[in-house]
């Protein structure tokens, strides 16, 4: 985290650093789960599927730890200004990371089900979607860790590219599904995998919005809808 003027109470600085570290390591764990889920899918690796499903509990525990640390800081120190924003954004980001890890589990479960069926070439369609989603997630986490509002702000626009790719791949998989055949079930699983990756992109956008709030105290959520309300 960026350097701050030290707080008069050293314990406060320690608690705040501890909170941010928890979120950053939770983010790394969620990203790792997602990467492993993708490896499990691509390499048809049952053990890796099991690891992802088991490791999700670590992310769940991390969310609880972030909430507990945030509550503790609110209770003991009554933070304000950027300190208050750090506590609020950390707790919100932890909730988004927990959902990202849930999507990794969804992917791992779909990958496990696909093991019962023959391998499908179309798994390769998923890789670019994953790379975009993971790139967004990486930058969302960096925008929080570095308090980089510009990086956080840019995620919304980048997510449109992911949305377009998601639609394209969905269309391809839907067509294959309509054609029927013994691989239909696998195509259906892949549709859900793509859907999960698209949701990861949305959740990364949420994290970016929280990072903007943390850095600039600006609420950029639902800007389009708010603009339309203003114009109406």
């Amino acid at each position: 985290m960026p350097q701050h003027t030290p707080h008069i109470i050293r314990e406060f600085d320690q608690a705040m650093r501890g909170l941010a570290d928890l979120v950053i390591s939770m983010g790394a764990q969620a990203r790792l789960n997602l990467a492993r889920a993708m490896e499990a899918l691509q390499q048809r690796d049952l053990d890796r599927c099991k690891v992802v499903i088991a490791d999700d509990t670590e992310v769940d525990e991390a969310e609880r730890a972030v909430d507990a640390a945030g509550m503790d800081i609110l209770l003991r120190f009554h933070p304000v200004a950027s300190d208050l924003r750090l506590v609020i954004s950390s707790m919100k980001i932890a909730a988004n990371l927990e959902r990202i890890s849930d999507h990794a589990v969804n992917i791992a479960k779909r990958a496990r089900k696909m093991l019962a069926k023959p391998e499908v070439r179309e798994v390769r369609l998923i890789e670019p979607v994953y790379l975009l989603a993971d790139g967004q997630l990486q930058d969302a986490l960096a925008s929080y860790a570095d308090r980089d509002s510009e990086k956080g702000r840019g995620l919304k626009e980048r997510d449109q590219e992911l949305d377009r790719m998601h639609k394209r791949v969905m269309a391809q998989l839907s067509q294959l599904l309509e054609e029927g055949g013994e691989l239909s079930e696998s195509y259906l699983h892949l549709l859900f995998v793509v859907r999960s990756l698209e949701r990861v992109g949305d959740l990364a956008v949420n994290i970016g919005e929280d990072a903007v709030y943390l850095d600039r105290a600006e609420d950029i959520r639902h800007m389009k809808a708010r603009q339309q309300d203003t114009d109406a």
Binding site: P79, V80, L84
Partner: protein, 260 residues
Amino acid sequence: MSDTFQQHPETAIEVADMDFHYGESKALKDIRLTVPRGRIVAFIGPSGCGKSTLLRCFNRMNDLVPGARVTRGSIHIDGVEIHSPEVDPVELRRRVGMVFQKSNPFPRSIYENVAYGPRIAGTKSKSELDGIVEEALKGAALWSEVESRLHESAFGLSGGQQQRLCIARAIAVRPEILLMDEPCSALDPVATAKVEELILDLKRNYTIVIVTHNMQQATRISDMTAFFYLGELMEYGATTKIFTRPERRETEDYVTGRFG
């Protein structure tokens, strides 16, 4: 004299380009600040920053300190410059009441403490005074606790009750503005909560300026917050803004506890 002040619809106090000296020492520099009517404004800042000095300027309490004076700029209350010759400081202090850090009831009965101001302002009728005392004690959320012992000594009240009695005494003369200088600093949390609830209730009828070292208190009760440092007004704005996204680094450092 009371006709000197006309109710300004939106602005209760307007401070413009004001400097203030204690002898040779400049205590306040170039203060510009508007207190909106019907709002609670909190003054915060480290000890010696000038916030209490400015508060005491508003009813010219500093006139009583030798060598203390406004050396530049102006303070308008209800559109009238309070240092202008037609302003009687005694009348000004009736319009701009004050509650101090430590409750300071007179060594008299509860009733007499509240009736004192209206009586010296000319109210003689017993029934009228009774009505004012009851209204003021109700306004200060104290009536139900003292109605059966109005003629007992004010010193028999608890610290929190004494402070609310002082608030009743201040509002008995029907001021428009109430100045409060750390009114809860000597009170326990329960008494503090009662006084804070009272302050919020008083907002319906009064403009309130409160000096506080308790920043949680500022966030709980004030609409606007002014941060002072070394005699300067560093930042002034909506309390939610000052405590969530202050503009200045000094404000951020102070409200977050990073002031070394």
